[in-house]
Structure formats: C-alpha cells, structure tokens
C-alpha cells in the first residue's frame, strides 16, 4: 500500500462496466411483436398499456426487491399492502367524492394525491408494524419467513374483509382522468399516461436516492455485502426498517394505481399481481432496482401482447419469458445480491 494509491483513488478504482445489453430487450420485444400484431395503431395502444402496467408492477416490485437484497427477506405478504393501500384510497376518495366528481383536472389530482398520501402513510405504518411483529423474529430463516409472511397475508386479507366488507367494490376514476386523448389515429387513455408519469417519477427518484445520497450508498453497499456495512459501524437493521417501510408505502401506491386501472377492488387484488411481481423480481435479479424496472416493462409487454394475440396463454407466456431469461442469465438480468 503506497501513498500514491490512496491519494488518487479515482485512478486506482476500476470503473464499473456498464451493461447495456438488457436494455435492448424491451425494444427488441416491442419490435418483434409489431409484425404479429400488424396494425400499428393497435400496437401503439398495446405498448402504451404495457408501459403503464409495467410502471405499476415496478412501483410494487421495487420495494420488495430492495428488501430482499438488503436483508435477505422475501415478503410473501407484500400483496397485503397492495390491497390495504387500495382500500384506504377507496375510503379517502369516498370522503372526497365532491372533488372526484367535479370535471376539473386540478381538483381530481388533488383528491387523488391526498388519497395516495394517506394510503402510503397507512401502508408505511402497517409495514413498520409488520416488520416489527411478523418479520423481525425470523431473520435468517427462509422457511419460516415464507410461512410467516404468508400467514400475515391471510390475516391481513381477513381483516380487510372485517373492516371494508367482502364484496367487490367499484373504484371509479376521477372524472377528468376518464377517457382517452386522441392524436390522429392513436388513442391513449389518460390514466395510463398518468401511471407512466408516476412510475417514471418513482424510478428517477429512487435512482437519485440510491446513487446520489449517503443513505442510497449505504443501501447499495448493504445489498452487496451487509456484514461489511455493519462492520463499518452502520446499523443495517435500522436502515432495513426504513427500506421496508418505504417498500410497503410504494406497494400501497402501486395498489392505488392498480385498483384505479382495473376500476374494481377485492381483498384478493394483491394476489393477482404478485405472481407477475415475483416473475419481475426473478427476471430483474434479486436486489436490483434497474433490473426490476426492465423486468417490469418486459413482463407487462409480454402480458399485453399475448393478451391480444393469444389471450389464453397470457401468464404462461411470461413464465416462458422467465425461463428464457434465466437460461441466458441464471441470476437475472442484473445480478446484485450474491447470496
């Protein structure tokens, strides 16, 4: 160890090799789907729908993948936060029905924004309690984690039935967000545009936090090697609780968006999308936010294109996609967590 190497770390540190190959995948997939679909108008509609759905899946999956990467905890009860978030938003929007029904984008967005904030606060709080009560006693025991979070999911789903009733609820979109914007031949639903914007904001914010702040640095370091971060004197547990709460809040946000997208709501809403979320996490590489983003877009594209071309095999096609990607990169697109 000489003075020269310590004084000029910029020269001695090898630069991280950028891996752009996976980014091409969605583009290739979209291009490959075009000749099968034929009609470019349909193709654009499907692609926009896929992007919107991908963003929602990403919002839900990002927290889960970070939680896993950081603490080796996979929360099978994540779906509960989706449902709880959606139900809280339903109640808030019900209280603000005046703001929702008026045909003004500003009031509508305000109502929606308020609903999202309350939903995220609620799911964040529940996430904190969930981490303390359910997950904390079983750190490092995978089998028990899976079982216990599954049990948490059952209990949460039943409690939703108790609090909100078991019947299917209608989740109406605010007036100004209904319908589509028509440009020439292309019609794009307004809510999908909003979903894409929200998803991109979450992605960019997350990337900035992870890459430009101290906390982000610690999280990334923790995902790579949590013991080393602890050895350096940081309390990884506390960091982990924060990430868990943030992940739960994001699941709540995703739940609100997903419920508005489907416009109906049942207590089992989380279960439907969790399967896609798990596929996304596996495809992206456990613990990788970038991989999760790409995976979400890929899965949503596959789901939307096959839903149009061969609706019967929509989910099966995504499993084939997962198998194909795992054959190419067994650890996922961007392997991060080395456990």
């Amino acid at each position: 160890m000489t003075m020269a190497t310590t004084s000029t770390p910029a020269e001695t540190l090898p630069s991280v090799k950028s891996d752009y190959l996976p980014i091409l995948l969605p583009i290739v997939l979209a291009a490959a789907a075009l000749p099968f679909i034929g009609n470019p108008v349909t193709w654009v509609t499907l692609t926009v729908a896929a992007l919107a759905m991908g963003m929602m899946i990403f919002v839900i999956a990002s927290g889960l993948t970070l939680v896993f990467g950081l603490m080796d905890v996979l929360n099978f009860g994540h779906g509960a936060f989706i449902a709880v978030g959606a139900y809280i938003a339903l109640s808030v929007l019900g209280l603000l029905s005046g703001w929702v029904q008026v045909d003004s984008l500003a009031w509508n967005l305000m109502a929606l924004g308020l609903a999202v904030v309350v939903a995220m606060a609620g799911t964040g709080l529940i996430g904190w309690a969930f981490e303390r009560v359910i997950v904390k006693p079983v750190y490092g025991q995978h089998l028990k984690q899976i079982l216990i979070t599954m049990g948490g999911l059952i209990v949460a789903e039943q409690l939703i039935h108790v609090l909100w009733g078991g019947d299917q609820k209608a989740m109406a979109l605010p007036t100004a967000l209904r319908g589509a914007i028509v440009v020439g031949d292309f019609a794009v639903e307004k809510f999908r545009i909003l979903a894409v914007i929200v998803g991109l904001v979450v992605f960019v914010a997350m990337m900035l936090v992870l890459n430009r702040t101290k906390i982000g640095l610690l999280i990334r370091a923790g995902v790579e090697n949590s013991e080393m971060v602890e050895a350096l004197g940081y309390r990884i547990r506390r960091l982990f609780v924060g990430v868990f709460v943030a992940g739960s809040a994001l699941a709540g946000l995703g739940g609100v968006m997903w419920a508005l997208y489907r416009e109906t709501l049942t207590a089992a809403i989380g279960g439907d999308i969790m399967v896609l979320v798990f596929i996304v996490i596996i495809i992206g590489g456990l613990g990788s936010v970038g991989g999760c983003f790409l995976g979400a877009i890929l899965v949503a594209m596959m789901a939307n294109y096959t839903a149009f071309l061969a609706p019967k095999i929509a989910l099966a096609s995504n499993i084939l996609l997962m198998v194909a990607i795992l054959m190419w990169r067994p650890q996922g697109l961007y392997p991060v967590a080395k456990r």
């Binding site: 996979l74 099978f76 995978h142 079982l147 216990i148 948490g152 039935h161 596996i282 198998v323």
Partner: protein, 353 residues
C-alpha cells in the same frame, strides 16, 4: 406387525396415540357412526386431505422445500381421472389409465420444475412454483373446451361406486351398503395405504437424508449426498402422491374443477394444516387435516353463535362472523410458526428443536 406397519415411527405420546386412534376409528366407521351425507362428506374430505397434507409435509417438513405448486399436482390427479371418465365413459380401465397419465404428467412436470429451480435456494423455488401454479390454474380455466373451464366437469364413476348400487340386499347395522359407501371405503383404504407408505418413505434411509438436507444442505452435500438429486426425487414423490389424492377427490366428488382442486385457497389450506398439525411429523398431517376440516365445518357454526351473542359491541361481531373463521386459523398459524414450529404433534411429543 404394528412396528412394520408404522415403520417404527410410533406416535410416542399417550395423548397423541389416543387422538390418532380416535381419528382412525372415526374415519373407519364413519358411515355407521354418523348419519347424513354431510358427515360422510366431511370424513371423505379428511381422508383425501390427510394424503395431500402428508405428501406436502414430505416436501415442507422433511426436505425443507416450500412449494406453492402442490395444488397443481392435486389438480392434475383430479383432472386426469375426471376428464378421462368424462370423455371415455365410466369404467375401471379408464380410471386406471387416467391416473397413470396424470402420474406421468405430474412427475415430468415436478422433475422439470425441480431441475430449473431446486439448484438454487428455497425462496426461488417458492416464487417459481407460485408462478407456475398460477399459470396452470389459468390454463385449466381458459381451455374450457377440454377442461370445462370455471365450471369444471361432472362425470359418472364406475357403476359399483354409484349411489344406486347395492352390495347386500339387507342393511348392515342399520346402514344400506350402497355404492357411495363403497366409494368412501375406497377413498379411506387408499388414504390409509398411502399414509403408511409416506411413513415408510420418511423413516427409510432416504427419508433420513431428506431430513439431513433440511437441517443443513451444505453438510449433507459434504457428506456425499447429491442434494439436488434427493430434492428432485422428494419433489417427484410428493407430486405423485398429490396426484393420487386428486384422483381420490375426483372419485369421491364425481366432479373436478378449478375451485375444488387448483385454487390458491386450497394451497393456503394445506399450508395451514401442515403447520398447525406439525411440520416434519407425518402424524401432524392427520391431526392438522382433521382439525382444520372439522373447524371449517363446525367452527363456523360456533362463531355464528358467538357473533350473535356479542351483538352491540363494536367490531367484535364482525371479527367473529362465521365467514371469518380463516382469520382465527391464520392467527393460530402465525403463532404456531413462532411458538411451536413442530405443531400440535411436536407439542404432544414434547420435542424441542
């Protein structure tokens, strides 16, 4: 005799032995002890789920693999028998061929899933099986021209098992021995045989290796056991047993459909039964399945009275509403994972692990 039947794995607790004997006697003489179709239905369901839960315990409790695709294999069994009998008429040959084809499909599928994901960690396997099982459920409901879709398929069973068939002219102990009762005994005897077989498997040297893998897979590998090989074989065995349980269910119900065999709710039920009964003990499957199904049928009535009694107190009647029986069992499930991971049976045996 008893030693070889139970493969040397005795209940090892007086209370447990008593409970098991009571369950065995109850199931063996169910048509004579209880009257009414509901009771015998419950008894048949318990028999079927004992097999299903025992096969799942082979994976979860003995090998330490969490699979969410167990209902898929259960469904393959149900559909194998059901669609066969539906398409080619009710005969024993069709039944046998249906079971055989279902077994082959299930084992190949289990093998492929295992090959793909058992090399990596438990969590991967859990996620991948969840995805595959959901896809299978959707495929089964979508290809309705073959499977009957959401409605499933009703079919007839071989004549001997139909309600109209009489074994004897005169009733025995006041019970007419018709085809339904023969069908029940077919299910019951299959369940007993399969359960004893499972007991044999887990108490064989092979079963000991599985337990070693559960406790420490690295060490098992270091001792020279090919972990992937053992896990895959366990996976295929459990799948085959689940197929047979599915076939039993189809024969008993004379119906097969996504809600009775494939749905995720049943997967959760199995999970609850294994954990509450006791992971890593075959007897846990018996106790868990019996308790759960009896609770499913009778706890709801109890909760109905409790809910009515607490009328006026806020929230409590809703919590005790008969439809919320799963809430209580869910809480029991979480508590049992924490405080007695070996379940009721482990508790009774006084094991500490």
């Amino acid at each position: 005799m008893l030693n070889s039947l139970l493969s040397g794995d005795y209940p090892k607790s007086r209370v447990l032995s008593g409970v098991l004997v009571a369950i065995l006697v109850g199931l063996a003489f169910a048509p004579f002890l209880f009257s009414g179709a509901a009771a015998i239905n419950t008894a048949a369901k318990i028999c079927i789920f004992i097999v299903l839960v025992a096969s799942y315990d082979l994976l979860l409790g003995y090998t330490g693999i969490v699979s969410f695709a167990h209902t898929m294999f259960f469904g393959i069994g149900g559909y194998g028998v059901g669609l066969g009998l539906y398409a080619f008429g009710a005969s024993w040959g069709v039944l046998a061929i249906g079971i055989l084809i279902a077994l082959m499909v299930a084992v190949v599928l289990a093998f492929l899933i295992g090959l793909l994901s058992l090399r990596v960690r438990a969590i991967f396997y859990a996620m991948i099986t969840l995805a595959v099982a959901s896809a299978f459920l959707i495929l089964a409901t979508q290809f309705s021209e073959y499977t009957g879709g959401e409605d499933g398929r009703s079919f007839s069973v071989p004549p001997v098992l139909r309600p109209g068939f009489r074994l004897f002219e005169a009733p025995v102990f006041g019970v007419t021995i018709n085809g339904r009762i023969l069908a029940y005994y077919l299910v019951f005897i299959s369940a007993v045989v399969l359960f004893l077989l499972a007991l044999r498997v887990v108490n064989s040297p092979f079963g000991r290796v599985l337990q070693a893998i559960r406790e420490n897979d690295m060490r098992a590998e270091a001792l020279g056991y090919r972990v992937v090989y053992y896990r895959t074989v366990a996976n295929c065995l459990a799948a085959a047993m689940a197929v047979l349980a599915g076939a039993m269910s189809a024969i008993w119900l004379r119906y097969t459909g996504p809600d009775t065999t494939l749905s995720f709710a049943i997967m959760l039920d199995i999970l609850l039964m294994v954990v509450i009964g006791g992971m890593g003990t075959m007897y846990g499957a018996v106790v868990g399945a019996t308790l759960f199904i009896v609770a499913q049928n009778y706890l709801q009535k109890l909760m109905g009275t409790a809910s009515a009694a607490t009328e006026g107190i806020p929230l409590l009647p809703k919590l005790l509403h008969p439809d919320r029986w799963l809430l209580l069992l869910g809480v029991l499930f979480v508590l049992s994972v924490y405080f007695f991971p070996t379940g009721i049976v482990g508790r009774l045996r006084g094991e500490k692990r």
